[in-house]
């Protein structure tokens, strides 16, 4: 038998809770689709960040425990992926691409798979963690944010590959590279918005997770990953996408700042026959602003839609 607990209950009049997750007086009323007060909601969310991180680490550990290479897959996977796309482009274009192109392709591909990975994992997480939802009251937005956190943790090791190819490709290393940080922050918020939105949609339409991989595949082809921003702008069919595809400003800025662009000895940039040297492309402020707008809008809509629906999840699972 343990000793009686020393903490006496706090007199109730000293506790007035603002949300259902904290102690004090809770009021539960019918509100299937309403929004709770956002300030205390996000405060409670922040208070449980360690829970989200622990949950994320559990997931990551479990994903690779049974494999021979273990955590090394975080590096092997993206490298194999890049190899597949490099071969694909070599075959389609009919001639081998240089190191510069590989550096450009990797930078775009890794960040694209960060976005799509976070989004697809996020879309499954509410259904996957149904047990937790049925048994614990906590701000449910933690779940898709956990998926995004996992995606970030998966992405970070691949940065080492990117850095290696950045130097191999001969792209000048300048102070401009620091722009990658705000661009990445934009991309993280954008991804969190998508993950939240699709996580809520998935509860109502379980087919969503089947559609998403095809949707992301098409999205990959119309984003500046395989093509450069300059190439997309020159393709009549794709040019209109510049302001319609959120990944144009987000990924465009990322790949341009990271990989720069080639100056041709022969041929026309960026698909030179022979490359003279690589020059830096400064950050595009237009793209930075557009990326910020996309991230803000998508995160706000995604998160608010999710929060407005989260009370319904327990009934729907």
């Amino acid at each position: 038998m343990t000793a009686p607990s020393s903490a006496a209950p706090v007199p109730p009049q000293e506790r007035r809770a603002e949300t259902e997750f904290s102690s004090g007086v809770h009021v539960y009323e019918p509100h299937r689709a309403g929004l709770p007060k956002l300030k205390p909601y996000f405060r409670e969310l922040w208070a449980r960040r360690h829970f989200a991180i622990t949950l994320a680490h559990t997931d990551m550990r479990a994903a690779h425990t049974a494999t021979f290479f273990g955590q090394m897959w975080l590096i092997i996977n993206p490298l194999l992926l890049a190899l597949v796309y490099l071969l694909l482009v070599d075959v389609i274009s009919g001639r081998p691409q240089g190191l510069w192109y590989f550096s450009h392709l990797l930078s775009g591909l890794f960040i694209f798979y960060f976005i799509s990975g976070g989004m697809i994992q996020g879309s499954n997480i509410v259904v996957q963690e149904g047990g937790l939802i049925m048994n614990q009251a906590f701000p449910r937005l933690l779940l898709p944010l956990t998926s995004v956190y996992v995606a970030v943790r998966r992405f970070l090791p691949t940065l080492s590959i990117l850095i290696v190819f950045h130097f191999l490709s001969g792209t000048p290393t300048t102070i401009d590279l620091f722009w990658l940080i705000p661009i990445f922050v934009e991309i993280v918020f954008f991804t969190a918005g998508l993950a939240s939105f699709f996580a809520a949609v998935q509860v109502y339409f379980r087919d969503m997770s089947q559609f998403l991989p095809y949707f992301t595949r098409i999205w990959l082809y119309v984003s500046p990953v395989i093509f450069t921003v300059a190439q997309i702008k020159h393709k009549a069919k794709l040019a209109q996408l510049e302001w319609l595809n959120p990944l144009m400003p987000l990924l465009g800025n990322w790949t341009q700042v990271f990989a720069g662009e080639p100056v041709c000895r022969t041929g026309v940039a960026p698909s030179c026959k022979t490359i003279d040297h690589i020059q830096t492309v400064g950050v595009s402020y237009h793209y930075l602003a557009a990326g910020f707008a996309w991230a803000a809008v998508v995160f706000t809509i995604g998160a608010l839609y999710y929060i407005s629906r989260e009370r319904d999840f327990a009934v729907r699972l």
């Binding site: 343990t2 009049q13 004090g24 007086v25 539960y28 047990g131 009251a137 009934v315």
Partner: protein
């Protein structure tokens, strides 16, 4: 939310109804949604799990909720925990709630018992130092066989898992503890220990709501009882009286309700 609220009132249910909206298909999909849309149909079936339920409960009591499968006991408990919103009415809950529901504490079976204690504590809003401080007490109380606390929970027996879950729930120092059938897995010795712990919590002016189909636990531990049937409150009062009425009632129409699933 302006509300007249007495300080020693723990739970107040005011005309609470909880209705599930379910579609006929078990798993909702796009295809069926599109087909339904094409036909202009709306297949929504309403399952009234709790109907117009009102009761007040003061701190320092152990309330037992009895009833047949499908009476709405678990649904009511989830609503008290803030997991399910009521469809109508209002629920006031005064204090920090800890839940021990039928599915465990949302425990991850891939993790060790010790990691699950951390996860459960973090989920309920404790900080890491607070959890660390309680971990030893939790482990001592659960009395798992030697070494099991650092093994994955999938290696635990049902009883061991139930003991750990109970131990975590009571040591989170809740003002209100909601327990759903959680003691059914424990052996007689642990049940006795659990009962003593719950009595201790009540002594500190905390409140326990215990759901069970079994009358044994209710009669042993509760000083107040509610009998629910098909979502309605049938009787509220002394556990002995309520249990008598319930068994009389079951004797009359035992077969009629035995096929329904627990909700």
């Amino acid at each position: 939310m302006p509300s007249v609220f007495e300080d020693d009132l723990a739970i107040s249910c005011q005309n609470v109804s909880i209705t599930y909206r379910t579609t006929f298909e078990k798993i909702p999909t796009f295809k069926s949604a599109i087909v339904r849309l094409g036909r202009g149909e709306r297949i929504v079936r309403l399952v009234p799990a709790v109907k117009d339920l009102s009761f007040d409960l003061y701190h320092g009591n152990v309330l037992g909720i009895i009833g047949a499968n499908g009476a709405g006991k678990s649904t009511l408990l989830r609503a008290l925990a803030g997991i399910l919103p009521p469809t109508e009415g209002r629920i006031l809950v005064n204090g920090k709630v800890s839940t021990l529901l039928s599915l465990g504490v949302g425990f991850d079976r891939r993790l060790t018992g010790r990691q699950n204690i951390t996860l459960g504590g973090l989920a309920s809003g404790l900080s890491r130092p607070e959890i660390k401080e309680r971990a030893e007490k939790i482990i001592d109380f659960a009395e798992l066989p030697e070494g099991f606390i650092d093994m994955p929970m999938r290696t635990y027996s049902a009883g061991m898992g139930g003991r750990l879950a109970f131990s975590v729930a009571v040591h989170l120092e809740p003002d209100i503890l909601l327990i759903d059938e959680a003691l059914s897995a424990g052996d007689a010795k642990f049940k006795e220990k659990a009962a003593a712990k719950m009595a201790e919590l009540c002594g500190q002016a905390r409140t326990i709501v215990l759901v069970s189909h079994g009358l044994g636990a209710i009669l042993e531990m509760c000083n107040d009882a509610i009998w629910m049937d098909k979502g309605k409150l049938m009787m509220r009062g002394d556990p002995d009286d309520v249990a008598d009425a319930y068994t009389d009632f079951l004797g009359v129409s035992r077969t009629a309700r035995s096929t329904m699933e627990d909700v």
